[in-house]
Amino acid sequence: MNAAAPPPSPQPVMRLKNVAKIYGAGMAEVRALDGIDLTINQGEFVAIMGASGSGKSTAMNILGCLDTPTSGTYLFKTVDVGRLNRDQRALLRRHYLGFVFQGFNLLARSSAVENVELPLIYRGTRSTERRRLAMRALAHVGLKGREHHFPSELSGGQQQRVAIARAIVTSPKVLLADEPTGNLDTKMSLEIMELLKALNEEEGITVIMVTHEAEMAAYAHRIVQFSDGRIRTDGKKREPA
């Protein structure tokens, strides 16, 4: 289906081969993913679209190593993720992936900068260095001066920026964002998209994003359409009607 011109030298980062995810069994069986093949290349900005319940989040969670497929293979670079144990998958997340959730998922009792520091703690970064990197990431997402605010003292857009800062503070290879603008108004959403675009273009971070809105998907190089657990279309800037 990759009819459009490929990037100069496509270097695959993630590859799903015939991946299925089945919830329940027998009559109650739900095929959240029903055999999908998907390759994400280094440096891409991919938008995933599709109706509610079509399996977008399920695919994102598998790509993000938060969940495991029922069948099929998932290669991260050259590593077969299906062969990794829980702790090895945690290491993969820790070193290569950044995740932004629709619901922000910040620690309510921790300040913005503490939230951003969190992934660095598990990387064993020393506390002074940690603070420096977290402050820089917050400045990067335009939250200078808000470092010590708690999530409850920040607007939705600001909370999402904190979440993005937390995802990029480790300089990940891939940033996965599941409906990062789902809870935000258009103005804030566009700001977040600009931010993702800048991260993609300037930092070279591969971005995969789920969205319902064509306006947001327009920022991506490539749009993947899901429906009923399968990939309907996959192509460069093909906006749905």
Partner: protein, 401 residues
């Protein structure tokens, strides 16, 4: 990394200060109670044994009735002056046979008055109780036989009624009887039961019987064996004599009892030791309840924080790191509770020992056990809920509402 985990745990505990405080409270109370109870109890036991041994090991108590549960000395016949006279005449190897009749009453000097304890006895009282005079003299033979209104007073009575004045030769009204003070007893201090032994007025037995009590009952006879004489032999002699005098024959049970200090000391110390064990057990239950409290709160906290666990896992924490975090939180919490509990328990025991005048008998075993228990509670009850949480798939934990 461990230090980091420790710091994170402290941070988390501070953020949930109220919950942490409540968690710890149960352990503090439990550990504190166990340590305070056992320490105070041990002190009391030692104090009782100590006091009794001071009374002398050659002293025998003769009382009407039998000791023991369900028996009362009230029903049994009291001794008479004739019983005492017979014991004095016939017992071999004794230093003193002192009859004692006792009641409480009021002593008045001028405008000062005091409720005190009144004892009727004779000069053998001083020998049997090993209680010398600090001034004045003992009773004269004529005063004893004639039931004269004379008395000796204890140090407390003297202080309270006479103040700095010299009491000998003065008169004191004891329950309407005006007595001349002929002597002063040396200060003895508190008894093992916390009563003031110096709060006493001593008069001849006959005076007491006629003018204070209005009967001829003698409630106790103290018999003091000579040094080197077996108290058990004297005890047998007393029993034989009194059975004869009270007309008890054959297999009939004694309606009186003769006990030596050792037996009484044993009864008392075994009673206080049992009390200690009982109090310790009750306190132990509160410790257990405190432990269950920790478990409960850790469980709730893990459930409450499942999303947090999910976030941590999602951003790259390994299950073992999350587990470690919760474990350290629980251990820090229960250790802290244990230490505060130990300190407050010891403080309480120290306070009690100084106010109740008992020795501070610190039992390190109990401290170690209480501390180990609180640590074990933390590890056990912190570990299992935390393990459950850390085993969740990150995505499941994140979905948790």
């Amino acid at each position: 990394m461990l230090w980091e985990t420790f710091r994170l745990a402290l941070q988390a505990l501070r953020r949930n200060a109220l919950r942490s405080f409540l968690t710890v409270l149960g352990i503090v109370i439990g550990v504190g109670a166990v340590i305070a109870m056992v320490t105070i109890g041990n002190g009391t036991t030692v104090k009782v044994a100590d006091d009794l041994s001071k009374l002398g090991s050659n002293l025998l108590f003769v009382r009407p009735g039998q000791f023991g549960p369900g028996r009362s000395s009230a029903e049994a016949r009291a001794f008479t002056a004739k019983d005492v006279a017979a014991l004095k005449a016939q017992l071999r190897g004794v230093k003193a046979v002192a009859p004692v009749a006792q009641t409480s009453g009021t002593a008045i000097v001028g405008t000062e008055s005091r409720a005190t304890s009144i004892i009727g006895s004779d000069n053998d009282f001083f020998i049997s109780q090993d209680w010398p005079l600090s001034a004045g003299r003992e009773f004269l033979g004529g005063e004893i036989r004639g039931g004269r209104a004379v008395c000796l007073i204890g140090a407390t009575v003297r202080d309270e009624l006479f103040g700095p004045a010299f009491p000998i030769g003065q008169r004191v009204r004891v329950n309407k009887v005006s007595c001349e003070v002929i002597g002063l007893l040396e200060a003895k201090g508190q008894s093992s039961f916390g009563t003031d032994r110096d709060d006493v007025i001593l008069m001849p037995l006959r005076t007491f019987q006629r003018r204070i009590a209005g009967n001829t009952n003698i409630s106790t006879i103290y018999v003091s064996a000579q040094d080197g004489v077996e108290t058990s032999k004297v005890q047998q002699d007393i029993e034989r004599l009194l059975r004869e005098r009270r007309g008890i024959t054959g297999n009939e049970e004694d309606d009186f009892s003769v006990r030596d200090m050792k037996q009484i000391a044993q009864t008392l110390t075994s009673t206080t030791a049992m009390m200690t064990a009982l109090l310790g057990a009750v306190a132990g239950v509160s410790l257990l309840v405190g432990g269950i409290g920790i478990m409960n709160i850790m469980l709730v906290s893990v459930t409450e924080r499942t999303r947090e666990i999910g976030i941590r896992l999602a951003i790259g924490a390994q299950a073992s790191q999350v587990l470690m975090q919760f474990l350290v939180e629980a251990v820090v919490l229960s250790m802290f509770g244990g230490i505060v509990g130990i300190l407050s328990g010891l403080g309480l025991a120290l306070l009690a020992s100084s106010t109740m005048n008992i020795p501070f008998m610190l039992d390190w075993k109990i401290v170690v056990i209480a501390f180990a228990f609180s640590a074990a509670v933390g590890i056990l009850f912190g570990f299992f809920p935390a393990r459950r949480a850390a085993r969740l798939d990150p995505i499941e934990a994140l979905r948790h509402e």
